[in-house]
Amino acid sequence: MSLMDTKPLLGRVEEVGGFVDLNAYEAGQGYGAARKALTSMSPEAIINLVKDSNLRGRGGAGFPTGLKWSFVPQGDAAGEGAKYLVCNADEMEPGTFKDRFLLENNPHVLIEGMIIGAYAIQAEKAYIFLRGEYHQPYRRLVEALADATTRGFLGQGIFGTDFNLDLRIHSSAGRYICGEETALLNALEGKRAQPRTKPPFPPASGAWGRPTIVNNVETFCNVPGIVRNGVEWYQGLGLTEDAGTKIYGISGRVNRPGLWELPIGTPIRELVERHAGGMREGFELKGILPGGASTDFLVEEHFDLAMDYGTIQAAGSRMGTGTMILMDNSICPVDMSRNLQHFFAQESCGFCTPCREGLPWIEALLLDIEEGRGQEGDLEVLDRNAQFIGAPGNTFCLHATGAIEPLQSALKYFREDFDEHIRTGKCPYHGRRL
């Protein structure tokens, strides 16, 4: 038993005590899974394996990875031209810092996962779409790609097979909307990052109109372990009906903010109390955003729930990226909502009206309430806007829908705080901020 068997993504990082270079990665069974896949498995067998493993997308949406891969046309059905595999390394969901840690510390597990994924969908061109601000991950990836190429893991005739892979980094020029996969593809093509009409979905028509798969960093990093150890092992890692491990993170006023690779389905309270060391002296936990800024608040009644896709969804939120933001009792829910809506209003691509006009309107109204200018009826205006903008189908993509998730839940769970601002004409938290 090595740490790789319980922590396939970060176990090697723990063993090495930081950055895992190519030698350290290979010493820990690295690239053995890619070699096995390319030399002894058919693309179809790999897709079926990933399907059977129940791996779900770790970028936030939780779509089954193998199923997504199976939508890519193979052979003659794919038509003339390249197919593309793209890693979404545009981590920009506020409160999310897991992909940066993976890229900086274990870039080869991502590259190995991408080699296997590219072979599975028979794509010979691949891109890592990397946040422009991620300079250290960029440096580590450049080094890792060069090392992997030197050893023959990338390029022509990988592992002595006839499979070729050209893997490149695309450094982004900013904007949160690039995380939306069709907006990302427009950015990759050098265009404005506005989401595209769906269908067609990227597996049918993606980058430059060709079949394309886009997966999150952490998703790809799960693939080598599945190929190496099999479906039964992978499913045995999870505590609930979901499979594998999850990189959970916590930010906010806890004793030990950070991130940990743990069995998927680890309960919220265990994450906060045991792994993050509990709240700092003098602070009480009031609410959490379980998986980034675009997920609904959860409160005390939810803290014993398992952090997995189904459980958190049943509680009215989403596991999202699995990196939680903690709101303590010194934080004003109205002002925190204003901060969140400022982000979403600023990051709207501006294409459709409810998002472009609605989100700044909501931000302005929240600022009025926070600064004591709130009026009777304002909360009903917020409720109505939340219902209208948050309803899927009323906006072109899911950006505004995501913006509404923390707002509608703040209005539900912290309504008394909103009421008090309007009733008293001031923020009851003013001066309590530390």
Partner: protein, 162 residues
């Protein structure tokens, strides 16, 4: 500036780097963002003249290229100082006191967000989540991520950037 003169705006090095990107793309226009970032890397920002020269090199209209340039927050269409300071204002840093820190930085540099110091040393901008939320509040100066920023550390931090 005439179209013919635009040929000489970009340096040989810039053109070589842009052509290297184009070489592995299906068409020249697909290199638009790469080209803007390359020129910005050499000049600090993308002027109107640079923009027109890039558009000419890529075989596209300068209006189309400007609509791309102005979409992305990391492409600067105005001059910036020698160092670009980006302070995270997203939710984890907010929880850990980013609002107060932002005001302290404005005071320390004597400029508001969006401004550049008189000596062209610093340009101050807000930025979204830098992905280091366990070490909030955070900021970035040029390509260096700075974690656990406090008002007390500002003199030491900015002192390292001439």
């Amino acid at each position: 500036m005439s179209a013919a003169e635009l040929v000489h705006v970009l340096s040989g090095e810039e053109i070589a780097e842009i052509e290297a990107e184009i070489a592995h793309l299906p068409d020249r226009e697909s290199a638009a963002i790469d080209a803007l970032m390359i020129v910005q890397k050499h000049r600090g920002w993308v002027s109107d003249t640079s923009l027109r020269a890039i558009a000419r090199l890529l075989g596209m209209s300068s209006d189309a290229l400007d609509s791309i340039a102005t979409f992305y927050n990391l492409i600067f269409r105005q001059p910036v100082g020698r160092h670009v300071v980006m302070v995270c204002d997203s939710v984890s840093c907010y929880v850990m006191g980013a609002d107060g820190l932002g005001k302290a930085i404005e005071e320390h540099l004597g400029i508001a967000f969006g401004g550049t110091t008189d000596d062209d040393r610093f340009t101050l901008l807000p930025i979204v989540c830098l992905g280091a939320c366990d070490k909030a509040p955070t900021m970035m100066i040029d390509d260096e991520l700075i974690e656990n920023v406090t008002a007390e550390r500002l003199g030491e931090i900015f002192g390292r950037f001439e």
